[in-house]
Amino acid sequence: MKKRYLLIVLVALSLLSLFVGVSRISPADLLDFNSEETQIFLISRIPRLIAIILAGAGMSIAGLIMQSLSRNKFVSPTTAGTLDATRLGILISMLVFTNATYFQKLSFAFIFALAGTLLFMQILNRIKFKDAIFIPLVGLMFGNILSSITTFFAYKANIIQNMTVWLQGDFSLILKGRYELLYISVPVLVIAYFYANRFTVAGMGEDFAKNLGLSYKRVLNLGLVLVALISTTVVLTVGMIPFLGLIIPNIVSIFKGDHLEKTLPHTALLGVIFLLLCDILGRVLIFPYEIPIGMTVGVIGSAIFLILLFRGRAYAN
């Protein structure tokens, strides 16, 4: 898995993504700046591509950081309740402020995502029985509890319809002016790269980290803040993208090991490629309609997750 090849695939898929869609656009149309095709290209296609790239890289890196810090291969924003906590945060912001602004939703969702993930890490610390598969099950249950709280209050307040937007990831709603929040993941990814070594050391355990003079708690908290930031921005703009943060880091780990400084670029690239592929599939399969990305990633992702579970039990332990 060479970075060079991943990059080539990424560029090819990006170009494909730009020219797949209901309105047929050919590169020649773009020569005329005022044509309808150029406008669609600038308002819809390019923002969509950028959103996919940022969300794909972000969610995979979030998963990678969580797996490293929790020392469990099956922990990710999907299996630790982070995404569910984010949705609960959005709901609460909508209940508290009748017309919640973007910023209010963002801050509520962020606080809930962070608190939810912290709570899960606390639960993890108390569990004596640290089986590789048991822990994500606890996480899924925890997530489902949060999720049912969300549904309950959304139902009472009659905003179920509103909430479903955040239930299932969907790139078809991405237009210029509606995705820019995702740019927050750029600095987050840069910080993650600079802290890659510290995350790896922290991932070896608290004693190991302390022996090397690393302030374990600080690195742990920073990692969780980064994860919460990425999850929040993705859920708010695109919606939930399940399994991405789970399977991509695991695939890369099998081939490249767990040294984050080495695997971080691969994880980000592969995450984007996988998301692009799923998105293009979703757009072509029932053309001219679209299958939302949450669904395609969910189906393909859960299949890959099952394969990882079966072949990976030995390696995860």
Binding site: R71, A132, N197, T200, M204, G213, H259, E261, N317
Partner: protein, 253 residues
């Protein structure tokens, strides 16, 4: 010089380490021995700052270890705990490189690379330095961790039951390496041991703990005798001298 002064640690109400005072002799191997639950590992963890003592203090160069800056401290004292589950996929070389973390924070310079190469060479791991830890045997993995500590280049090396899960051949190999570290590189080694015969054959000093207290403390030959062992383990243990090694024959006592 490390001085332990009157330290105690309670888990709940139960004192696990109870007013222990010990001086660690520089340039020697000191073994902590004693029955299960005597507080050996807890004591080692407090010396290495992994645990904070409830009362009392540990002095490194006459100043309290809690007052040391963590990266300065990790250039002086290193600790290896028993690593029961290590499912991180790192190569030996990557692991050893982390030994330089206190110095370089991950950005390795030429000096770091030299130290890493030397440590790998010293532990005879050059051929397998790019193998993943989870593919190694227990003995190889333990050697890789010791190589990391050598790269960390600390004066004090603390090990918590490093022979756990190792067979006889690899246990002997690890103990010989520790002896070499003391004699060739002038390190001070402090080690928690279960097997009293390894303690007898390889250490210079022995600290015997029981119920959280130091019950005996002195040069090896003063501890390895039937009277002292009776006090420590509540067992009658005959001693046999072979090739100037004192062997405790405890199997049928």
């Amino acid at each position: 010089m490390i001085q332990v002064k009157e330290i105690s640690k309670h888990f709940g109400k139960k004192p696990v380490v109870d007013k222990v005072s010990v001086n660690i002799q520089s340039g020697k191997i000191t073994s902590f021995i004693g029955p299960n639950g005597a507080g050996k590992s807890t004591l080692l963890s407090m010396v290495s700052r992994l645990l904070d003592a409830d009362t009392g203090e540990v002095l490194l160069d006459k100043s309290d270890v809690r007052k040391w800056k963590s990266d300065e401290f990790s250039k002086r004292v290193s600790i290896l705990k028993q690593s029961n589950y290590m499912n991180v996929r790192l190569t030996i070389r990557e692991l050893v490189s982390f030994g330089r973390f206190p110095y370089s924070k991950g950005r390795l310079n030429a000096e770091d690379t030299k130290m890493i190469d030397q440590a790998i060479e010293y532990m005879n791991l050059a051929d397998i330095q790019d193998d993943y830890l989870d593919e190694l045997s227990g003995g190889q993995r333990q050697r890789a961790f010791i190589a990391m500590v050598i790269a960390q280049d600390t004066e004090y090396i603390l090990l918590d039951e490093p022979l756990n899960n190792l067979d006889m051949k690899h246990s002997v190999q690890i103990m010989k390496i520790l002896r070499k570290l003391v004699e060739e590189l002038g390190k001070t080694v402090v080690i928690v041991l279960h097997d009293i015969n390894f303690a007898s054959v390889y250490s210079d000093y022995i600290v015997a703990l029981k119920n959280g207290r130091v019950i005996k403390d002195g040069p090896t030959h003063e501890i390895i005798n039937s009277d002292a062992l009776k006090e420590i383990y509540d067992m009658d243990i005959p001693i046999q001298e072979m090739n100037s090694c004192r062997i405790c024959v405890y199997f049928n006592s």
